[in-house]
Symmetry: C2
Subunit: 407 residues, 2 copies
């Protein structure tokens, strides 16, 4: 894509009314735009990143046999009343007569749909997910994409004949979430953390917590093993040795990017979702629900994968693979056509601005590879990885191969 044609431009300064690092960086670099507190538009660059993140999530959900569907945002009052969740501050209510609550989660709708299609043990297990816009009436919305009033969520729901089957699937979802987190390069920052059941269950639930100063959660975790608990349930543990290995515990701020819940029969019972066993007995369906937030993941990447010069996208979700810069009087038009024809996604900075500005903006944008053509490079290309920083002078003909070979 030609940068001169890009709908959004980079800005010299971050907006004054934005406190969070992720929103400041993403707005300056032209990935998102603030509409009001906690409400953002995704500009073309940002929407490309979201598209990459959701593609990874889809692949891993499909790989564990989940089917994609789409539920509405307008959820009629009767559904919330059935589960006892109509009166909650986090839900926006809609319409003159407040007939609807805007979906902030979809257990009720999913369970109601399942009653249409699940009636026998032969219909189990099942799993279905959606990637959807959710709404939450957040009193404070100052964390950019980390806590929005409107945000994207992948929510998965599973249906089982018994607890044992649920527990097996729960572990498979945890493994799928690890794969998603690994593919986005976040593994080294992330701990699978035990947390309270909240309103859903009395057992521990699990959260994927990404360590970051921007995080609103506090996690007590062990330096020697994988033990980690949300501070909510780990009160008093800080001063003690790790209950798992005896190692030293520490406390860190973290961003909750995903969570998994064993719902049990919390929703199947009020909605009458039951099945007939092989012996003809009637039993309630056992459910799980699992969330991971694509927009929060994008904000998290901006928090933990950035430096003083700007964003540093992992290759798996970057909006383009290579940022091609023609400095001064040099032309990169031929190289642009050649790379594009080979299926490499190139952002070509063809604008008539100073070399200095192009280089500064390239760092801010954070595309994994920067390829510079100038009078200095004398027919060759100066290739630099945004993350590593090492510079290499390569022949133009070799560039495509390097970009295709690396991953």
């Amino acid at each position: 894509m030609l940068q001169s044609q890009l709908f959004a431009k980079m800005r010299k300064e971050a907006p004054k009314d934005e406190e969070s690092k992720n929103a400041r960086l993403l707005i300056r670099a032209g990935f998102i735009e603030k509409l009001s507190a906690g409400v953002y538009s995704y500009l073309p660059l940002g929407w490309r990143v979201i598209g990459r993140i959701t593609a990874i999530i889809r692949e891993e959900m499909n790989a564990i046999g989940a089917e994609e569907l789409m539920m509405p945002a307008l959820v009629a009052r009767e559904y919330w009343q059935k589960s006892g969740r109509w009166e909650t501050d986090v839900m926006y209510k809609v319409g003159e007569e407040k007939n609807f609550g805007l979906g902030w989660t979809h257990e009720e709708v999913m369970t109601a749909i399942a009653t249409r299609f699940i009636s026998s043990y032969q219909d189990l297990p099942r799993a279905a997910y959606q990637i959807q816009t959710k709404f939450r009436n957040e009193p404070r919305a100052r964390s950019g994409l980390l806590r929005g009033r409107e945000f994207l969520m992948k929510d998965l729901y599973s249906f089982h004949a018994d607890q044992e089957d649920l527990f097996g699937y729960y572990d498979r979802v945890i493994e799928a979430y690890w794969k998603i987190i690994r593919r986005m390069g976040l593994e080294k920052f992330t701990k699978l953390t035990e947390a309270s059941g909240g309103e859903f269950t009395k057992e521990y639930t699990h959260e994927f917590q990404v360590f970051s100063e921007a995080g609103e959660d506090a996690v007590i975790h062990c330096g020697s093993c994988d033990f980690a608990q949300n501070k909510e349930i780990a009160a008093g543990l800080e001063s003690k040795p790790c209950p798992k290995c005896g190692g030293k515990l520490e406390e860190s701020s973290a961003i909750e990017v995903a969570n998994v819940f064993k719902l049990g029969t919390r929703y199947s019972e009020p909605f009458g979702l039951s099945y007939a066993t092989a012996q003809g007995a009637k039993k309630p369906v056992v459910m799980g629900s699992y969330g991971i937030g694509p927009s929060r993941l994008m904000g998290t990447l901006a928090e933990v994968m950035s430096d003083e010069r700007g964003l540093v996208w992992p290759e798996s979700v970057a909006p383009f693979r290579v940022h091609l810069l023609a400095l001064g009087k040099a032309s990169a038009n031929g190289l642009y056509s050649d790379l594009t024809e080979r299926g490499i996604e190139v952002l070509h900075d063809d604008r008539d601005i100073s070399p200095g500005q192009k280089l500064v903006e390239a760092d801010l944008l954070g595309i994994p590879y920067r390829a510079v053509v100038s009078e200095k490079t004398a027919g060759k290309v100066e290739l630099k990885r945004r993350a590593a920083g090492e510079v290499e002078l390569v022949a133009s003909e070799a560039l495509a191969k390097i970009l295709q070979g690396s991953s």
Copy 2:
């Protein structure tokens, strides 16, 4: 995909509270599910169709240089007030203090965003679109996917230095919309129709009207040429000869699946969206907006491409290419693996139900090709096109080639 694993099942009867043909068919066949009046979930089969429709739309939008982005549904009151559209019955208002209107169209947000990035003639023209869930407070919502309270919309906005440039792009969008309609097989049912400007403009706007008894619009059109006007502006014309060719005019019901508006400076003026000309003069940006509805298109296909036995999907948007039926004791497992490995999308009815039920449900589902394996086909495959109805006995080895070759 194995039909035994499909989340949604077909139903013997349409729901009693659903009047519209499209919703009755789509619910019976397991493509959608009703949550409340005008509010539907898309089940996995239906979501696949939506995915195909939006992929076609994306391709044609990208081909005319439009960039995809995503705007929020929660649009703060101040944006609507700026354009004078806060007080409208169609908009759902949200929150205790009604700070937000749920987006039913996005001229305000798009114009506000554009003020950040368009300031010079060099920034023009630009075009950006989104494929997004929209909300409308419809007093009556009885037409299934044709008029929902929550629906999918692709809305495109264009920005120009002058009217002439807008007019040129307007014609390009009309051509792109014809391509979309053609690719979905709807061309022979569709007329480009002149309509009133509504609140946007005093010039005629244009609508793509698909003739159907289910349509809520009335179109006066010529049997001999392409003249067509929405009855709203054609009052009294019915009894006269065609003003374009003198031919005979008739009136038909039709579904408006798309529309195009020349907005002019209706939004750029209140939002202060202006640009500096090459000579340094300040001028308001001239805008256009263009909508096409993926969910309404899906409902329209169900209305006009169906018969007494069920749905008849065009190949371009069908959820699968071929429906593989193993009847009685015959097995199609090998054929299923073979076709799937070749990248052909197969729905394999592996359920242990009667041949009669499988055949009836295949017709209801409306996948373009039905491939039957039974004791009667003696090692061969009985191939039938859902639309044409002719039956052909082909060798198993030839099946993949026939399915890949046809289009």
